[in-house]
């Protein structure tokens, strides 16, 4: 590079967002806000059975309904060339991928499985018509308990496999059995991360239009370019004939990172009928057939020496995958395996994963995707270990932190943590939380019958998904590259347009990416228009998920902007009669070092570039540069969180008194937006920890099909959060940035759960599984008091047996002294 940024004028500033005016005045355009003349509405007939053969479908009456244009079933799908894709094929590992067609063919495997597509001219009329489709089923046994599904004699969902086991995959380093044998204390726990929903307030909407051989899909998606590629395979169409546009997207949280059956269906039907087709998901459909997250049962063993030195952690994770895959369900528990060391120096770490089919809907990536589950295992067990050792919980953590001076730190797992200062975030947390004072307060309150507790977690996450050689086909096995693209186009008048392959749905790229570009090319964020989410605009891109946008997409934008600046500097040097290396960008001006009067702005340089009367010899006209950035490493954000809770021991109700989060995601691009991401992430996990649970009954019926039954937290149940940061730059990218979108979610669930256990310790409670609903907490208290009566029940009233249906009945298995040796 020929010049250096003399100062960051906009990066680091808490600028309010450029995207907000349209959103707060009702002028934004989400997919459902669009219609096309002649457009048909779609309604979907869905399976009422969890597992059944379809014996007949009668569509005759529906077809006669006024306004109905067509009714299709699985037998009609000529032209759909491939089942719904699953993109993970790890080398040397067999992953079973049952054929999952956009409309069921002969058999259904979950409640909500699409059976027929009804198209018509009236929004309400198609729903009436769908009710006239008569489907006869021959029920087959439901399989809802992920552990029982593995037992001999369990009904098998996909007969061709003869088993419900989908795959096994392991990641480890060091000799785990030796490490646990060497331990003085081994804590063994069964840890349940129950099934949850994404809960984006905008449901999915897909609008397809097919004209003269070209297909356009507007979709509430996080991955427009990947979807374009997958649709070309699904529909047997050439990729350049397909345009996918993600307009305003109303939240994703992973749930819109898909190639959903309905996305294929509207495109296929639009092509077949030559008409535009819109499908708008209802919330009930969203709860049923927009993918779920979590749903793991794990058996964790953690070993330590008597002095608190950790020796190893082993986790056997049983992942409920549902009956059919979507894009990457089996990947999710494996992502967790990469952080099973947490921020600690474990000499040995081993994670063994088994993926299991059940007759439920698919699980896949939901905010955090495998890492909240892993962090819950580690941080719950850290508290358990501290209690077993009689050690202070934070002291145990400090003793085992990877020290600040050991970064980059190569772990036994083979991964390299880029940078970290785990002591630093914990120290900062304790500036906000006076533990000694809290203990006094806690003791006083207990005398008055108030059960107050405090929980902590210290954690690390992996994000910035890339590098392609590590996660791609020959490495981890995802069938894609994981770079990100950016094109910075300086317009002739000196404003700029950034095309990014990232695809935001609330993250604020239009502001943060503009800040990054503006500083690098010498203009203001207002002068940088950020274009995203349209496959016809700008280079191919990889989309937004896994907290990758800034660390990969933002860095890509920075690099494209650097290229623009390099050329702009050459032009300035030529026109100012100086050497390119003497040009510096200062306060938005390209000036000759030491001669402030010899300077020019971006508009003048752009003018010279586009009216090329006097450019350096051999230079092309124009001022526009493109980058594909594929990082050398992941980025590893970290932090320390604390949560103070009050538990009403008479009712089991948990109140959050304080939540304090100290996060480190590298240098802030926009602190206002970082705090917003942290707030949202914490709230998401508090919902999971306290209120939310996707529940299927023993027949595989979804019990939590609406927001009446599935309790997203409201403003009344949450406190204001206290946030702070440390800034440890990542050496992986030039911005030093990591990621922040999932941090709160990854950190929070063990923080609050440990807090509840701390509050209830005087009553003998040592373990509790999420969700910490009043009923669950009350039952746990009763059991600890030895007055538990009768079988345990879930919040929905179903009885839960010995090892539960992934919702209750967990806890300590065998804390053992002295290991096995």
């Amino acid at each position: 590079m020929t010049t250096q940024v003399q100062q960051e004028r906009f990066v680091g500033k808490a600028l309010r967002r450029k995207e907000d005016p349209r959103l707060i005045t009702g002028r934004a355009t989400y997919t459902d806000d669009m219609s096309i003349p002649g457009m048909l509405y779609a309604a979907i007939v869905r399976s009422t059975e969890a597992h059944a053969r379809i014996t007949s479908i009668d569509t005759s009456e529906a077809k006669q309904h006024p306004g109905v244009a067509a009714v299709f079933t699985g037998d009609d799908l000529e032209g759909v060339e491939a089942p719904i894709p699953m993109v993970w094929a790890p080398p040397g590992v067999e992953v079973k991928v049952p054929e999952h067609w956009p409309l069921a063919k002969g058999k259904v495997g979950y409640v909500g499985h699409a059976v027929a597509l009804v198209l018509g001219t009236d929004k309400y009329g198609v729903i009436d018509a769908a009710e006239k489709v008569i489907v006869d089923y021959e029920p087959l046994p439901a399989v809802v308990d992920v552990e029982k599904a593995l037992e001999d004699g369990s009904p098998v969902i996909h007969e061709e496999y003869g088993t419900n086991k989908c795959f096994e995959w392991s990641l480890g380093g060091g000799d785990i059995e030796a490490a646990l044998n060497e331990a003085d204390v081994v804590v063994e726990r069964r840890v349940v991360n129950h099934r949850t929903a994404g809960g984006a307030i905008e449901c999915r909407v897909h609008l397809a239009d097919y004209r003269a051989g070209n297909l356009t899909l507007w979709s509430s998606t996080q991955i427009p370019h990947i979807l374009q590629l997958l649709l070309s395979l699904q529909l047997g169409m050439s990729e350049e004939k397909i345009r996918v546009i993600a307009p305003e997207v109303g939240g994703g949280f992973g749930s819109k990172l898909q190639c959903y059956p309905e996305e294929v269906l509207v495109c296929w039907a639009a092509r077949k009928l030559g008409r535009a087709i819109k499908w708008t998901e209802t919330r009930s459909e969203n709860m049923t057939t927009t993918h779920h997250g979590r749903d793991q049962v794990a058996y964790v063993r953690m070993g330590a020496k008597r002095d608190g030195t950790l020796t190893g952690i082993h986790s056997r994770i049983i992942q409920d995958l549902g009956s059919y895959h979507l894009i990457e369900g089996p990947v999710i528990p494996c992502l967790g395996a990469f952080v099973m060391s947490g921020p600690y120096k474990f000499p040995a770490v081993q994670t063994d994963i088994v993926g299991v089919f059940t007759t439920k809907f698919a699980t896949d990536a939901i905010r955090g995707a495998g890492r909240p589950e892993a962090t819950h295992m580690i941080e719950m067990c850290m508290d358990q270990m501290a209690d077993e050792l009689g050690m202070d919980r934070l002291e145990l953590r400090r003793k085992n932190f990877i020290p600040k001076d050991e970064f980059p730190a190569e772990l036994p797992l083979g991964v390299i943590y880029d940078s970290g200062d785990y002591e630093g975030t914990l120290d900062k947390l304790l500036e906000h939380v006076d533990v000694d004072a809290f203990r006094k307060e806690q003791a006083e309150l207990r005398e008055r019958g108030v059960y107050r507790g405090i929980g902590f977690s210290t954690w690390v996450e992996i994000c910035g998904l890339a590098p392609s050689r590590v996660v791609g086909p020959g490495g981890f096995g995802l069938q894609a590259g994981y770079w990100e693209s950016a094109q910075v186009r300086v317009n002739p008048s000196g404003t700029a347009t950034l095309f990014t392959g990232s695809s935001p749905h609330g993250q604020g790229h239009e502001t943060t990416f503009a800040q990054i570009v503006a500083d690098r090319i010498g203009c203001t964020p207002e002068q940088v228009e950020v274009i995203h989410g349209d496959t016809d605009m700008g280079p191919f891109g990889m989309g937004t998920y896994g907290s990758r946008s800034l660390a990969v997409g933002g860095e890509s934008a920075a690099r494209a902007a650097e290229k623009v600046r390099a050329k702009a500097s050459e032009i300035a040097a030529h026109l100012l009669e100086a050497a390119p290396e003497d040009i510096e960008l200062n306060d938005g001006k390209y000036q000759v070092r030491g001669s402030p009067d010899k300077a020019m702005g971006l508009a003048d340089i752009a003018g010279a570039a586009y009216i090329p009367e006097d450019l350096p010899e051999g230079m092309e006209p124009g001022l526009s540069e493109q980058t594909f950035y594929d990082p050398e490493n992941f980025v590893w954000p970290f932090g320390a969180h604390a949560c103070v809770v009050d538990v009403d021991v008479e009712t089991g109700k948990v109140d959050i008194v304080r939540y304090v989060a100290v996060d480190d995601c590298g240098p802030a691009i926009n602190p206002l937006l970082i705090d917003g991401q942290v707030h949202g992430g914490i709230a998401h996990a508090l919902g999971q920890a306290l209120f939310e649970q996707v529940v299927y009954d023993e027949d595989g019926q979804l019990v939590t099909g609406t927001f009446v039954d599935y309790a997203l937290p409201t403003a009344a149940e949450l406190p204001s959060f206290e946030t702070d940061r440390t800034e440890t730059p990542s050496p992986t990218n030039s911005l030093g940035v990591k990621g922040i979108g999932e941090a709160g979610t990854i950190a929070c669930s063990p923080t609050v759960t440990n807090g509840v256990i701390d509050a209830l310790k005087p009553l003998g409670v040592t373990w509790i599984d999420m969700p910490l609903t009043p009923m669950r907490v009350w039952q746990t208290i009763q059991e600890a008091r030895g007055s538990g009566t009768g079988p345990r029940a879930t919040e929905q009233g179903t009885q839960v047996d010995g090892h539960g249906s992934g919702s209750a009945g967990s806890g300590p298995t065998a804390p053992s002294e002295g290991g096995a040796s």
Binding site: I24, A28, G250, G252, H684, A716, L718
Partner: protein, 166 residues
């Protein structure tokens, strides 16, 4: 199918007249018939509040009101909140912008309309009152922290500005 019914309604100050199906929901009338797509739909059960509008000055969930029930009423939607010849934003809109009270923006119109009703009834709410006042509106992005901050800030500003109302 029942005969259509006539609806006379004033929306954002403008008189509108339509023949609608008796079962047509107010939210669909606003979005599909009048093209006012700033009012959103997020659930089927009146839990999420994304569809909140002011009906004769009171916040209602327009997915739970029939268009026919709005006959003779005044409706205000998010599109009607920025008023005046210069289209200046309502203090609530300014506050949401200033305090990052939104991320994906989908719940925002409903939040702002609910907050407008809340502040009309209680111009100086405590944080707890704001939180309870917004209980019927769900947001998945913000954790409500900055929404509550925005509403409190708007209350302060509206209290100090003569003549500003929802």
């Amino acid at each position: 199918m029942a005969d259509n019914v006539r609806v006379n309604v004033t929306v954002n100050g403008e008189a509108r007249q339509s023949e609608v199906e008796p079962r047509l929901l107010l939210v669909h009338y606003l979005r599909d018939t009048l093209g006012l797509t700033g009012t959103h739909i997020g659930c089927d059960t009146s839990n999420c509040g994304a569809c909140t509008v002011l009906l004769d000055g009171e916040a209602v969930k327009s997915c739970t009101v029939l268009a026919a029930q709005a006959d003779g009423a005044e409706v205000k939607t998010i599109e009607g909140m920025a008023e005046g010849s210069n289209g200046a934003m309502h203090p609530l809109q300014e506050a949401f912008w200033e305090h990052h009270g939104l991320q994906c923006g989908y719940c925002t119109p409903g939040m702002i309309m609910t907050a407008a009703d809340l502040l009309a009834r209680n111009p100086n709410p405590t944080e707890e009152e704001v939180r309870h006042g917004l209980e019927g509106n769900l947001c998945r992005c913000t954790g409500y922290h900055n929404i509550v901050k925005s509403v409190m800030s708007a209350a302060d500003k509206m209290g100090s500005r003569e003549g500003v109302s929802a």
